[in-house]
């Protein structure tokens, strides 16, 4: 009797329907390819198993960029947010960051609906157990139940599910986040293909019943009015909704005493947890130990959604035993009588050393195999989604025989994120930070559309109309910035009076409008009264004009740095280079270059252990190589 098994054919298999998987699937499907999206539970699509927000510092940038390229996260959160704030508003425009509280269930439902409405996507519940690879080329996957799905590309977005283990105290469950089933077979398949795996750890705080909290002991935090939408495509009018509040309270000395007294019972100290945790999301016990001089830490109490009264205790993630958690949470003002719905826990999972990937997010060793998200050693929904989109685009480009999309460090935070992941040794879950972006004055959340719409359009994810709109916007900004540079304001009585009123130095002679906009006490909009010929322009155009003028010095200098950076970035290293032939490389550099196989001289220069002299040697070798090949 022959065994009968399901065998199907798709263009792309996406493994995992979290934030990376959803973006990857949508990108492929929107580019016209047949996609099957695997998830261990169809109810957990685009699940937010940890914090209930999208965006935040530098993560907000990622969402904006992803939106400009044609991704879904920005649109989805605009449909499902409970509260929205622009962080860092008192600082420069480069670090303004949008953050929204999400209704978790609504977020999941809306994303699921979007996926279901796309006829090129098949959602399939099941566990992918192994990869089918022939001669270094991916051919598809098989599931635990034995079904075979052939495909031209596979995108791994397994998040925190691979061999996942949830831990608090001496309790350890072999499950994925939120009690969901872990994926226990794929790791072995990956190992057998020679893929290097790492084990990382992250954690989440407890959830408590909202009706058992005393909000009078907390500080209320309201959302911004008006709300700024995440997506460039969302009409601002549609997001002016009544908002939910968050609440701020603090840990006490008593909390810290409870923690200190029970440190020995922490699985971190007993060695039960092997994985490396993120420094960015320290557990409360970590904070108490490492910053012993602080007598209190902030705790943000945030709603999980309108469907539940569960509240998230941001700032108090933990893997201490259940009874210690119980005592610890109740020592926080406002939480004295809190009913705990879900314990805090740490989660350990398998992920890869992302240096095995090209900047396209394709595996160096296996053609057609891509990966994204926490599987690549990152942390955070936004980091995952951004990678998912890029992996989805590049898997599609490969199948369609088109040029891949690689953003560099000067073009987007997404570029910084992926370059860091594939170039640097990563010892903890990688989180995006504004300090990681060298050219952040150019990579603002307000100009993501100007930076990236065109790239999204070239790929095929942004439609003609949207693209034309951004082209027109760009032209208006250029014209108006130029007009300000060439419009002179004389030292008339009206002008002097205006300046004195604004506590600005009166003019000695004529001056351009841009010079006036540059003055710290003046703005583009406040100068409207002096600017008789000012055209009527939309708010977003005015904002760009003001930034261009006010920060011109910084922008110009960063653009110059980018020019230098690009010179090395465009020098591609031939894939068949043999570093053993480059006699004059230092040993350390040779080993590192062999290990990393950088795609460009620029990437090579960012590898630690490769010196400027090694780069010079490499340039000479490449010239020699190039001349030889031209001669042949």
């Amino acid at each position: 009797m022959t065994e009968k098994k399901i065998t199907e054919n798709y263009d792309i298999v996406v493994v995992g329907a979290g934030h990376a998987g959803c973006e990857a699937a949508l990108a492929g499907a929107r580019l016209g390819l047949q996609v099957i999206l695997f998830t261990v539970s169809a109810e957990s699509i685009a699940l937010m198993p940890c914090n209930p927000n999208i965006g935040g510092t530098s993560k907000g940038h990622l969402v904006r960029e992803l939106d400009a390229l044609g991704g879904e996260m920005g649109k989805n959160i605009d449909k499902t947010f409970l509260q929205s704030r622009m962080l860092n508003k008192s600082k420069g425009p480069a670090v303004h960051s949008l953050r929204a509280q999400a209704d978790k269930q609504a977020y999941t439902n809306a994303m699921r609906r979007t996926l279901e409405e796309n006829e090129n996507i098949t959602i399939r519940q099941g566990e992918v157990a192994s990869l089918i690879v022939e001669n270094g080329q991916i051919r598809g996957v098989t599931t635990y139940s034995g079904a075979v799905y052939h495909s031209k590309a596979v995108i791994l977005c397994t998040g925190t599910y691979l061999k996942a283990r949830c831990i608090y105290g001496d309790v350890s469950y072999p499950t994925g986040p939120n009690g969901l089933q872990a994926a226990n077979y794929l790791t072995d398949s990956l190992l057998s293909l020679g893929i290097r795996m790492l084990r990382f750890k992250t954690g989440t705080p407890a959830r408590v019943a909202g009706n058992t909290l005393d909000y009078s002991k907390m500080e209320e935090q309201k959302g911004d009015v008006p709300v700024v939408p995440f997506s460039f495509s969302t009409d601002p009018k549609d997001v002016q909704i009544p908002q939910r509040s968050c609440y701020l309270t603090y840990t006490t000395e008593k909390t810290h005493e409870i923690i200190r007294a029970n440190l020995v019972r922490s699985p971190l100290f007993s060695g039960t947890i092997e994985g490396t945790g993120p420094r960015y999301c320290p557990s409360i016990e970590d904070k108490v130990v490492r910053f012993a001089e602080k007598n209190r830490h902030q705790v943000f109490v945030e709603p999980e959604g309108n469907y539940t009264n569960e509240m998230y205790l941001s700032g108090m993630s933990s893997s201490l035993p259940e009874d210690v958690q119980f005592e610890m949470y109740h020592s926080v003002p406002g939480l004295e009588h809190a009913k705990i719905v879900k314990n805090a826990y740490a989660i350990e999972y398998d992920c890869i050393d992302a240096r095995q990937l090209y900047p396209t997010l394709e595996f160096r060793k296996i053609q057609g195999l891509f990966s994204a998200g926490q599987f690549n050693g990152s942390s955070g929904y936004e980091e995952a989604a951004a990678q998912g989109l890029i992996a989805g685009i590049n898997a599609s480009m490969k199948i369609l025989g088109k040029e891949p999309l690689v953003l560099d460090r000067s073009e987007a935070y997404i570029g910084v994120l992926i370059d860091d992941l594939v170039t640097k040794e990563n010892r903890e879950p990688y989180r995006m930070m504004t300090s990681r972006a060298e050219y952040r004055l150019l990579l603002r959340q307000d100009n993501a559309d100007l930076r990236l719409r065109e790239k999204g359009y070239r790929v095929g994810l942004v439609d003609e109309e949207t693209y034309q709109k951004v082209c027109r916007k760009e032209e208006l900004i250029r014209q108006e910035t130029e007009r300000l540079e060439h419009t002179y304001i004389g030292n008339t009585e009206e002008v002097q009076k205006f300046l004195i009123e604004k506590e600005s130095t009166p003019l000695k002679s004529g001056i351009t409008l841009s010079e006036l906009v540059k003055r710290p006490e003046l703005t583009y909009s406040s100068l409207a009264v002096l600017d008789k010929e000012r055209p009527v322009l939309s708010d977003d155009v005015c904002e760009q004009v003001e930034i261009n003028v006010k920060y011109e010095g910084y922008i110009t200098r960063q653009k110059k740095q980018v020019e230098q950076f690009k010179k090395l970035e465009i020098k591609k290293i031939p894939a068949d280079i043999n570093y053993d032939d480059v006699g004059s490389l230092r040993l350390e550099a040779r080993q590192k270059l062999k290990e990393y196989q950088p795609v460009s001289i620029g990437q090579a220069s960012r590898i630690s252990g490769v010196s400027p002299a090694d780069i010079s040697v490499l340039l000479v070798y490449m010239e020699q190589y190039g001349r030889r090949h031209r001669d042949e």
Partner: protein, 458 residues
């Protein structure tokens, strides 16, 4: 990468004329800014290629030197780029001044081997020379790195590290606040930044002022004193310096580490290095000292080999003789005040072809002759110091200046009311410039500093 570069391309000695070479797209603009032709009507930008012009190098209104300038437009030049060669008066001081003027006016100091690298990349050298070019780059960089690290020992590197540390802390603080505004506030922080920046700028200014006086940088002819134990090496150092610097005893092996001093002989700076005596020894600490002595001798521009005339040449001298081969050496026939066990002629025979000078530290005899000999060697050009030392020093200076300029921009930005995130960008540039001296990169340092010093994140 396609910056305009400059370097001294003749030997760093007092001999003959000095040549400063400038190469790159801005070479003509640079020379135009600093050169005033003898004939006032001459426009250096429009002269034909491969012609020589007489005139003066000016730094602003100050005359630096009388020179000949050779204008060579690419691609028919060594590097294939526009190239200018300035023939100035020989002498380290005048060459340095001309180079500094060139650097101030838009050129950067050439990396070791960079002219050769450009020549190759621009197709001016054929394929067969590629290996040689790579070797040049590697060996010159290795030497530069080594000398850079050695020069950095002590006060200079410590001071730079301190400045960098203070700046890094400020950056980390600002970045922490930007990444986690709900935990860390920047209200009124600009004032703190300005204060820190002012202090650090003063420190940098002090460093730059003291950069060239030889106290901070180890520039000069590396002169290593070698000899078997108790030959009188430390006494020589003390006598030459005219002070008791090294501990002198008659116990063999007293100097276990090396001692370094700077001295000036007739305008030539000697970087004097006293070493532990070389002998076969089982004492571990002394063994290390002996190894270092050999190491030092390998990198020396000049070796002063002290022979003890009151004892016969022994197996320890035999250890030293091979080190002298092919090096610039002056042999000192020491302790002429005692009864000799070996004659000057015998020593001369053994150390051929190096000159031998009889000296006595006790009677203070023979030192004049030693100084004359050093001077003669230097001015005849047979002795020069390795220019990589100078090159790295210029690079350090360039980096310090860049850091200072970046800090200036921080202050300016603060005055213009720029937000802290903008100020952090220039702080970072300053740190990056300093990191080029200490060999540290900034980005990971910032992230590490943030996590180690500040409690952020949820």
């Amino acid at each position: 990468m396609r910056e305009t570069i400059a370097a001294i391309s003749s030997a760093m000695s007092e001999a003959g004329i000095g040549i400063i070479r400038i190469s790159g797209p801005e070479a003509m603009q640079v020379i135009c800014k600093i050169f005033r032709p003898g004939k006032k009507e001459k426009d250096i930008l429009s002269v034909p290629s491969h012609t020589i012009h007489y005139g003066y190098i000016f730094d602003g209104e100050k005359t630096i030197d009388e020179v000949l300038v050779m204008i060579m437009k690419g691609p028919h030049t060594y590097t294939g780029e526009d190239t200018v060669e300035i023939d100035c008066h020989g002498g380290i001081l005048s060459m340095k001044k001309v180079l500094e003027t060139v650097l101030k006016n838009g050129a950067s100091i050439a990396e070791p081997g960079e002219f050769t690298k450009r020549a190759f990349l621009n197709g001016r050298l054929d394929l067969s020379q590629a290996e040689a070019v790579m070797d040049v780059i590697r060996s010159r960089n290795e030497y530069a790195l080594q000398s850079s690290l050695e020069q950095l020992k002590g006060s200079l590197s410590e001071k730079i590290a301190e400045i960098r540390k203070d700046l890094l802390y400020q950056i980390a603080y600002i970045e922490s606040a930007l990444d986690d505004p709900e935990h860390i506030s920047l209200d009124g922080y600009t004032e703190t930044i300005c204060n820190v920046v002012d202090t650090q700028r003063q420190k940098l200014a002090w460093l730059l002022d003291h950069f060239s006086d030889g106290k901070l940088i180890r520039e000069g002819i590396r002169t290593v004193i070698l000899g078997k134990p108790n030959a009188g090496k430390s006494s020589l150092l003390n006598t030459m310096l005219g002070e008791e610097r090294a501990i002198v005893t008659n116990i063999a092996g007293t100097t276990r580490d090396t001692l370094e001093e700077f001295m000036n002989i007739k305008g030539i700076t000697l970087h004097l290095i006293d070493t532990a005596g070389i002998r076969n020894t089982e004492d571990t600490i002394e063994k290390i000292g002996v190894e270092r002595s050999r190491d030092m001798a390998d990198k020396a521009d000049l070796i002063l080999y002290v022979v003890d005339s009151s004892t016969p040449m022994d197996e320890n001298d035999e250890e030293i003789l091979p080190i002298l081969q092919g090096r610039k050496v002056i042999v000192l026939y020491n302790k002429t005040d005692l009864s000799p066990q070996i004659s000057v002629e015998e020593v001369s025979q053994a150390v051929q072809p190096h000159p031998v000078i009889p000296v006595s530290m006790v009677e203070n005899k023979g030192l004049d002759e030693l100084e004359d000999t050093i001077e003669k060697m230097f001015f005849s050009g047979s002795l020069s110091f390795n220019d990589e030392v100078y090159v790295t020093n210029s690079r350090h200076k360039e980096a310090l200046t860049e850091a200072q300029d970046a800090l200036q921009l921080v202050t300016q930005g603060a005055e213009l009311g720029m937000p802290e995130d903008c100020l952090a960008i220039d702080l970072r540039n300053a740190c990056e410039a300093l990191g080029r001296i200490t060999g540290e990169s900034v980005s990971e340092d910032i992230v590490n500093e943030i996590f180690s010093k500040f409690c952020i994140g949820k």
